[in-house]
């Protein structure tokens, strides 16, 4: 073949920008197509694996130690009756409760942080969790008398969010106004809850008080399973809005010009986040730190390419399970509220975050 004819066979230059977006997997079926972020899928799977390993470890450690192998055997029903009771009646329910609450916190934190575009805007900062706590405290002390009113949590959270909305209709520059007023609402809700508890005798309220510190002792399936079921039912909605949430990263006006009905989408995502955070709170109380840390770590792992909703959920479960297991081992034979552990971690994290921001402000 001569050189000239070779040159003629050369077709138009390849279009740049690759047919498939870089770093994504494209799945097509007829006219339908689905894009998955490779990094998010891989890291998500790794985190899930870590979560499973940690769960087995968490089941095996405690005042009566098991080997992880024994714990696994117990889960698959191949041990003594005593171990079986310990695993199935005490440790597994606690692990399930912790995982559910942690995932809810991570997911809700990621939703609100992304929506407001401020890392400080998490359900525990803006009063949503405290609103849920107040509602549960009130109901358990005066109305349901003992049986755990987890279902009232979303209403309490919604109530706190409404107060926030009326006080601050404009979220301000990067949502700072929203965060600052949210802290005020949060304090108010907490004070009201403490006032309610102070009107009762200490014996009567000690369990509730422990719970308001963030405590997973004795949280059985009766709360965590219905909560987990509702959370799973909300997942398709979160998935639906995740596309728009990613476009909202470009700012409200650009998102709107790209066809996102911004007002409606923001409202829907906020409602979802409030529901999810409240349900997470209903299990083990208002645990701080998880909702802020999980999305930050997830964003870091995904190099900020997308809003890391699912990785944040898995990381939330992972972080809370770590804290809970740690506190259980460390404080043995006493019981220390898991929330105290996360509060310490959260305080350090918040300081790091604010000090970093201070550097930027200078």
């Amino acid at each position: 073949m001569s050189l000239t004819s070779f040159a003629k066979t050369k077709v138009s230059p390849p279009l740049h920008g690759a047919a498939i977006p870089t770093g994504k997997w494209l799945f097509t079926w007829r006219r339908h197509s689905l894009l998955l972020e490779k990094r998010a899928v891989c890291i998500g799977l790794l985190l899930l694996l870590a979560l499973m390993i940690l769960s087995v470890i968490s089941i095996s450690v405690g005042s009566a130690k098991l080997t992880p192998w024994l714990a696994l055997q117990a889960i698959f029903g191949d041990t003594s009756r005593l171990i079986e009771i310990m695993v199935f009646k005490i440790r597994l329910p606690r692990v399930v409760a912790v995982l559910t609450a942690g995932a809810a916190m991570g997911l809700a934190g990621c939703l609100i942080q992304s929506l407001v575009r401020n890392r400080l805007a998490t359900p525990d900062m803006i009063g949503v969790n405290e609103g849920a706590t107040l509602a549960i405290t009130f109901f358990t002390l005066y109305i349901t008398m003992g049986s755990w009113p987890w279902w009232i949590a979303p209403i309490g959270a919604m109530f706190a969010a409404l107060i926030l909305y009326f006080l601050c209709k404009n979220p301000g520059e990067q949502g700072y106004l929203f965060v600052v007023i949210g802290i005020g609402v949060s304090e108010l809700m907490r004070a009201l809850g403490e006032f309610l508890m102070s009107t009762e005798s200490i014996v009567h309220v000690s369990a509730v008080y422990m719970w308001t510190m963030g405590n997973f002792v004795g949280q059985g399936y009766s709360t965590s399973l219905p909560v987990a079921a509702i959370l799973l039912a909300l997942c398709p909605l979160v998935m639906y809005f995740s596309r728009q949430l990613n476009v909202l990263r470009l700012g409200v006006d650009t998102a709107q010009s790209l066809g996102v009905n911004v007002d409606r989408v923001q409202l829907a995502i906020l409602m979802l986040a409030i529901m999810i955070a409240a349900l997470g709170t209903a299990i083990g109380g208002p645990v701080v730190f998880i909702a802020m840390a999980a999305p930050i770590i997830a964003s870091y792992l995904l190099k900020d390419r997308i809003v890391p909703l699912w990785c944040a959920a898995i990381l939330g479960a992972l972080l809370l399970l770590c804290s809970d297991t740690f506190v259980r081992v460390l404080a043995d034979p006493h019981e220390v509220a898991t929330g105290i552990m996360t509060r310490i971690l959260g305080g350090v994290m918040l300081l790091i975050f604010l000090l970093r921001d201070k550097g930027r402000a200078d």
Binding site: L15, H16, G17, A18, A19, I20, P21, T22, K24, L26, R31, H32, S33, L34, L35, R117, Y240, R243, V247, R249, L250, G251, D253, T254, Q256, S257, L258, G259, V260, N261, V262, S299, K303, D304, R305
Partner: protein, 269 residues
């Protein structure tokens, strides 16, 4: 046939009239510049055209349909709008940014198609971004960054493109880079409306100008009808001289000093 026509719109913000009885028509394939003093209502007008806000009275008609009849998603297939200070998310690459432009054409069950790939590739080619596709948008120079945003808008594949001061924060080199890119878009068949402060650049690149002052259309039409000494004097309340550029005889506007200052300087000298 007018592509977009604005029929006597008014817009009030906190009971102050910002846009007063503005009527304009936009024909296909032109580059239209909106000029005028700060606070005169230029940005508000372009936001109204983009349906970022709704006019208090009057009507905007796009392809024989009032703008209010379009959902945001439908409208995003006809009109693309780039705000003056768009937010750049951390960690986002040029390629990802351009792909965002396809959002109005996608849905949950149709996240990437042949057309998406084609339009993104075309936009990247037209805006010359091939060499910086994998760089983070935040790390780019002002001109490159603006070109990346323009590519996103192009990938949206709309007839009309609205740009709010796309060159305002750029030095002259980057300004020319961006204006040339915008001319490319017009040659590619787009109708572009841009808010622009630099009168000389507006005169050189635009086909038509609309001068807005105090919320009203002061003048509109071909560049030479709008750039006249009397009009510019009154629009900006400043005495100017209009000269011709040596290269292409495009009008160059040179403002004079206020008289009082000149007298003061002489006395000092």
């Amino acid at each position: 046939m007018a592509l977009l026509s604005v029929n006597g719109i008014n817009f009030c913000y906190e009971s102050k009239a910002v846009i007063k009885d503005v009527s304009i028509t936009l024909s296909a394939g032109s580059l239209v510049g909106i000029v005028g003093p700060n606070g005169g209502g230029k940005s508000t007008l372009i936001k109204l055209l983009a349906k970022q806000m709704m006019p208090t009275a009057g009507e905007i008609v796009l392809k024989q349909q009032p703008l209010s009849n379009y959902t945001m998603k439908q409208l995003a297939k006809h009109i693309a709008y780039l705000p003056q200070h768009p937010t750049i998310p951390a960690g986002i690459t040029v390629e990802q940014l351009v792909q965002y432009g396809r959002h109005p054409h996608q849905s949950w069950f149709r996240q990437w198609s042949e057309q998406d790939a084609e339009q993104v590739a075309k936009a990247i080619q037209l805006m010359n971004l091939e060499s910086i596709l994998d760089q983070s948008v935040a790390s780019l120079s002002g001109g490159q960054r603006q070109r990346a945003w323009l590519a996103m808008i192009l990938a949206q594949d709309t007839d009309i493109i609205l740009l709010d001061e796309p060159t305002s924060a750029l030095d002259i080199g980057h300004q020319i880079e961006v204006l040339e890119s915008i001319s490319e878009m017009v040659s590619a068949g787009k109708t572009v409306v841009l808010v622009i402060h630099d009168l000389a650049a507006a005169a050189r690149y635009c086909d038509e100008l609309i001068a807005i002052g105090e919320g009203k259309v002061i003048a509109s039409g071909p560049v030479n009808d709008v750039i006249t000494k009397s009009l510019i004097d009154s629009l900006y309340k400043t005495d100017v001289d209009i000269m011709q550029a040596p290269f292409d005889h495009a009008p160059v506007i040179v403002p004079r000093r206020k008289k009082s200052n000149v007298v003061d300087l002489k006395r000092l000298g």
